[in-house]
């Protein structure tokens, strides 16, 4: 199971990367895509939408399940990965390259509340136990 050390994580299995311009890139973790299986459809939030932390804002659908994606932090959606519309399998192939959407965070304090790689590893292990 791959959990890059330079990313932040949520307890709902999203990863977050803080970009140099301050925006937050969001995707789903290797563990999440592994549980879902082959993805067939990804629904991203529209650019301009304002999200609250924890709000349902997208769906990843595999042949056996459809799971909601939650906003890791509050803020405005500033972009979405259009490539996933036609190639959702990219998430299975490389979940940390195949980002879903970007948020411009409205509350920097929320970024500090995200899990680090070690925290996320412990979460996954505790869920497996």
């Amino acid at each position: 199971m791959s959990i890059p050390a330079d990313l932040k994580y949520t307890d709902s299995h999203e990863w977050v990367r803080i970009e140099p311009d301050g925006s937050a890139t969001v995707g789903i973790t290797h563990h999440a895509q592994d549980l879902l299986g082959d993805l067939v459809f990804v629904e991203n939030p529209a650019a301009g939408r304002k999200l609250r932390k924890g709000e349902e804002c997208g769906v990843v659908e595999s042949v056996k399940a459809a799971s909601d994606i939650y906003a890791p932090v509050s803020g405005e959606v500033v972009g979405a990965n259009a490539e996933l519309e036609t190639a959702p399998e990219k998430i299975n192939q490389d979940p940390y390259q195949a980002w879903m959407f970007r948020i411009k965070p409205s509350d920097a304090a929320e970024l500090g509340a995200l899990l680090d790689a070690e925290g996320y590893r412990k979460l996954v292990e505790s869920e497996a136990a």
């Binding site: 459809f41 629904e43 659908e61 042949v63 056996k64 399940a65 459809a66 909601d68």
Partner: protein, 445 residues
């Protein structure tokens, strides 16, 4: 795959395997107070002979009529082969079976049904059917609002079937969706979009084709009006008429739905019928219900499978696209056989003959002084103005064995004394004469 219920031995074996004394014990966790207890009010069972006798008596009481009532349910000829095949053991089930992929024949039939309907409607995808036309329209409205995302106002024409309007209202009433009625033009019976002024925030416009009055709408113009206002277009259509009229996919509809009964399902006291629902590819993930897809198995052979299930309620629970996870399997089986026996040309002939018969009947009725309420083209039914209330007239005709039409007064008081009269291909010139003669006698009273 045959569907044979478990034998008593099977049940005993299964109970023994899980160590439970009897089937009743499986329900122990339900508190006794919640169980219904006595079923004393339910009469005892009847033998096959008794029930046959009862049903024959009831059928006699209904009588046999020469019918000219349409209004959403249409008497078409159903070739004998349709139900001969549909009632074969392999098909004779109301549902898409559980472990659906074990029933490849059933899935292939649904797939063929979907393909024929998509072709008839000129849209990309259809589902395996819904309960009836009215509930299919309600699901189409919910689909459009989900797809539109920003608006929750839906325009519902007054010239749409009154029962459909009521069902839509019931189903969407608790979903924070605003339904706005579109009036009809008094001279043509068609949509009067101009009367709405400049409405904004519209998620969808529903267009009935033909509308409840049998009038043929300028659907392309109405659809263009909706598109200019960033609204989706829902077509509620008569499937038989689609063999003659431009199909909704060609005039800009995003979603099409309607009642499938005219396609091989007998009138049968109002049901069971089936609803059809189709859409453009981009909306397919908003479509509720079962959808059968074609695929290849491990050896590269053609196979069929239920697809897009991940958003249904057995997986998504309360977040499902819809709480409808079933279809009218048996009625759809009949429709698939009906469509394949008739073919495109046969269906066109049915539609054309129904229309021709209506014009022939209209000529006879205008000859005895009745007149049309609306000008303009109609498919196979037409509203007529009556000199006095329809009810007494209809009762008198009924006494002569003729059902003269559907009384419009309760639903459309603004039309005065008005009757909706329908013909299909089943009527002969002699039938039309008999109908006109019955009208003449009743009017002379």
């Amino acid at each position: 795959m045959p569907f044979i219920p478990h034998t008593e031995e099977d049940v005993a074996e299964m109970l023994a395997a899980i160590g439970v004394p009897g089937v009743e014990a499986l329900f122990d966790e339900i508190p006794a107070a919640l169980k219904s207890g006595s079923l004393a009010a339910i009469p005892a069972g009847m033998t096959e002979m008794e029930i046959g006798r009862l049903m024959a008596d009831r059928a006699r009481a209904d009588g046999e009529f020469l019918g000219f009532i349409g209004a959403g349910a249409y008497e078409h000829h159903v070739p004998a082969a349709v139900w001969q095949i549909a009632t074969r053991g392999e098909f004779y089930s109301a549902y898409t079976p559980y472990q659906a992929e074990a029933s490849q024949g059933t899935l292939q039939l649904i797939y063929e049904y979907q393909s024929m309907m998509a072709s008839l409607l000129a849209l990309d995808a259809t589902n395996a059917s819904l309960y009836d036309g009215a509930s299919a329209l309600a699901e189409a409205v919910l689909m459009a609002v989900r797809a539109h995302k920003s608006a929750r106002r839906v325009l519902l024409p007054r010239n749409l079937h009154p029962r459909y309007r009521r069902v839509v209202r019931t189903i969407v009433s608790s979903q924070d969706i605003e339904l706005v009625e579109v009036p009809f033009e008094r001279h043509s019976g068609r949509l009067d979009l101009g009367a709405l002024g400049e409405p904004h925030g519209i998620a969808a416009l529903v267009i009935a084709q033909p509308n409840f009055f049998g009038c043929i709408e300028d659907a392309a113009a109405a659809a263009a009006w909706a598109k200019q206002r960033d609204a989706l277009v829902i077509a509620c259509v008569n499937p038989t008429a689609m063999a003659l009229l431009q199909p909704p996919g060609e005039w800009g509809a995003d979603i099409a739905c309607g009642e499938g009964q005219p396609l091989g399902v007998p009138l049968s006291n109002g049901g069971p019928y089936f609803g059809f629902l189709a859409c453009r590819q981009a909306l397919v993930r908003q479509m509720p219900g079962r959808i059968v897809g074609g695929t290849l198995d491990l050896d590269g052979r053609r196979g069929y499978t239920l697809t897009l299930q991940a958003r249904e309620q057995h997986i998504r629970r309360s977040k499902a696209t819809s709480n409808i996870c079933t279809n009218q399997g048996l009625a759809v089986t009949a429709a698939a056989i009906y469509l394949s026996i008739l073919g495109a040309e046969g269906l066109r002939n049915v539609a054309a003959k129904s229309h021709e018969n209506l014009l022939a009947l209209l000529g006879r009725l205008e000859g005895i002084g009745l007149r049309r309420i609306f000008a303009g083209p109609v498919f196979h039914e037409v509203p007529l103005a009556l000199p006095r209330p329809a009810q007494a007239l209809l009762e008198r005709m009924r006494g002569e064995g003729v059902l003269g039409g559907h009384d419009l007064h309760a639903d459309y008081p603004e039309l005065g004394d008005a009757l909706l009269v329908c013909t299909t291909e089943t009527k002969t010139p002699a039938d039309l004469d008999a109908c006109a003669a019955a009208f003449a006698r009743a009017l002379a009273q």
